[in-house]
Symmetry: C2
Subunit: 406 residues, 2 copies
């Protein structure tokens, strides 16, 4: 199941950024499961990684390499997460980087490795290195769609976004792909996101940009509250567009580029939710009127992750009692329930601590039938605001997660 059509926009190539895809037969013969991305020399690279303490070997290695060298290649495999694999896992990840480095005449530390798939199995390094030449031969700037397919695991469809803006008189492209649907199937792990632009941006500024964008996109989605061991997101700026170098948030071009980057990040993050495990609804939880953004997030996640709210969404049941109960237990100090109002798709369902007097079950039922639901919560305490995206909780969620290994 998935929400919406999943139709992709035209994916504009990014000058200085090539993608090559191959089939290494890691889990299934013939499946595209290996992606190499080649970055033009002098590209800026920024990245964020999972905060899970059990982070995978490639995550540990990529974080280390990023502090040592400016990356020239990203190496991504599906079918095996190389997580929970200890020292041997680190050695295996390093081995694949060394191999690609030899084929491309760069230092091994210029390769960032990424893995997604089964946890706890040894990485089949020989299958991967054997397929590397094919991936390199396939390198092409116009290969985004194939790469989006090549990083899929249990995703039901590829996820991509592409935006063009004018910056400093130059046309600038931002294109990205992502994969994931929570921690997905048993022992499957990972959200991955790769976004490239031909804008010229310093590494430090790009890092500020990715952190802000991730906090408004990938860090605002939740399917099951389970942070994976392999989550990684990379933003590359090749500089091929020849705009004046953006070197700080005060730079006059920063905000315009940032807005376009954020749009791509939000579309990629939302695509993961639309393809969430067993998802039948795309749900936006908007919390406004908070004293701080933190308390808005507490409320948004309490509602978005409540199994009772999520099963009610699955049933298209306008169950305002469950939403109020989730708000009430979110941990916000001295919450005055009399100031809170809740709308579902513009229908006022609750106010002053209970059901809205204007509300009818008919209105609520009509609002909940939609595939896209907005739950808007006003706290009446201040001006802070946040938005979180999530899915419903369906029978298919249980089936997908319970029956995979049985």
């Amino acid at each position: 199941m998935a929400v919406g059509s999943g139709q992709l926009p035209e994916l504009h190539p990014v000058a200085g950024f090539k993608l090559g895809i191959a089939s290494a037969g890691i889990k299934k013969i013939g499946r595209l499961d290996l992606v190499v991305m080649e970055l033009a020399a002098n590209s800026s690279v920024a990245a964020v990684f999972t905060k899970n303490a059990f982070c995978a070997a490639p995550v540990q290695l990529a974080k280390k390499y990023l502090t040592q060298q400016s990356p020239r290649y990203l190496l991504i495999n599906t079918g095996n997460a190389n997580a929970g694999t200890g020292e041997a896992g680190l050695a295996n990840a390093r081995r694949t980087c060394v191999q690609l480095a030899q084929l491309t005449n760069v230092a091994a530390e210029m390769i960032l490795p990424f893995s997604t798939g089964v946890i706890g199995e040894p990485l089949p390094t020989e299958k991967i290195t054997a397929a590397l030449p094919n991936a390199l031969m396939d390198l092409h700037e116009d290969n985004w769609l194939k790469a989006a397919q090549g990083i899929m695991t249990t995703d039901t469809r590829p996820k991509a976004s592409s935006v063009q803006i004018e910056l400093d008189g130059q046309r600038v492209t931002i294109t990205g792909i992502s994969k994931g649907a929570g921690m997905i199937k048993p022992n499957m792990a990972t959200m991955l996101g790769y976004v490239a632009t031909d804008a010229a941006v310093t590494t430090d500024t790009l890092q500020l940009m990715i952190e802000r964008a991730v906090n408004r996109s990938f860090n605002r989605i939740t399917i099951d509250g389970d942070t994976s061991t392999n989550d990684s997101c990379v933003l590359v700026a090749t500089g091929a567009a020849k705009n004046t170098l953006i070197d700080g948030v005060q730079h006059p071009l920063f905000e315009k580029l940032y807005a376009a980057v954020e749009q791509v990040f939000v579309e990629l993050a939302q695509a993961i939710i639309r393809d969430g495990e067993g998802a039948t609804k795309f749900v936006t939880v908007d919390v406004s009127g908070g004293a701080t953004e933190h308390e808005c997030l507490q409320v948004a996640y309490a509602v978005a992750e409540s199994p009772l709210v999520k099963t009610a969404l699955f049933a298209s049941d306008p169950n305002w009692g469950r939403i109020l109960a989730a708000i009430g237990r979110a941990g916000v100090e001295q919450l005055d329930v009399n100031l809170i109002s809740v709308h579902i798709n513009n229908v006022l369902i609750a106010e002053r601590g209970g059901r809205a007097s204007s509300y009818t079950e008919q209105q609520g039922g009509a609002a909940m039938v939609a595939e896209e639901i907005v739950i808007a919560i006003e706290l009446g305490r201040g001006i802070a605001q946040t938005t979180v995206w999530t899915t419903d909780f369906s029978h298919d969620y249980v089936t997908i997660n319970a029956e995979y290994r049985t």
Copy 2:
């Protein structure tokens, strides 16, 4: 579905504590839905209530009355939670107390009201007050089982526990009942617990006792992470056993009585888990070796509430990757994954950041088939410990919570 036989022990009467049960026809004609409990004069009463900001009208009223008078009656109805009902709800709760006060010649503030059932519907006060005389005529010390049935809503079986100890040369009884299975069905709310003893204990000491006992029982169970709007728990000491009055935690009889009280609380809390929505497993999550109890709780709840862990439990799938991932995202600072070990029912499944070298899928599968599962997590950081009880996540959970109103 429910776990275990649900067979109840002999429920010893508590001298000075009577229970009367009647049928008020609140939701269904003929169903036992009204319980009155009568406390001997000079009983000590201690209580704890939900911390949900959207707490129900009876909860607000009971908290207030407790500060004004020493209670003589507890008045409990099922079928209607009187939550999300605003000022009218408070007036209705008060009305039922006033009515019972008139019938029993006590002050209205000596009646503590409790409600459980549908959220947001007006409390049918006339049905309740009409049935009060029948409940009063039924008052009897040997009525615990009938009362346990009378407070059930969607529970599949009554929940009760009873223990006798010798204290100060006297035989002392502790008997209690509980109800609930999380927030249970759509718009159903509530965990309720009532425990009485004939021991003589001051009110202040009894309050310390209930808070400690709740923190090791009802506050350590989680089915869906959704705290209800009506949770209430009451501990009554009638003093009829004539032991020397226990007036502080330093009193020589305190620990012996407390241990028996805690046993009753734990059994009542576990009974709720065994009857959890769609439950097929009774799961104990033991976390030891923490630097603080707080971080043990963070880890225990991350594992116990992870939908991925819970669906794996449903599938009897020894999915150690999901357990490690949940531990890793629990929010414990500077967690060294190399020091962590995880056992499932005495089978070592993970250590040193990955699958245990001694582990086989066969062992894991055999351990997971059991109806009662212990997940024991050693953090290797200190000596703090905690235990949390939970259920698995089954198709029936989704069915129960999604299909009730459709």
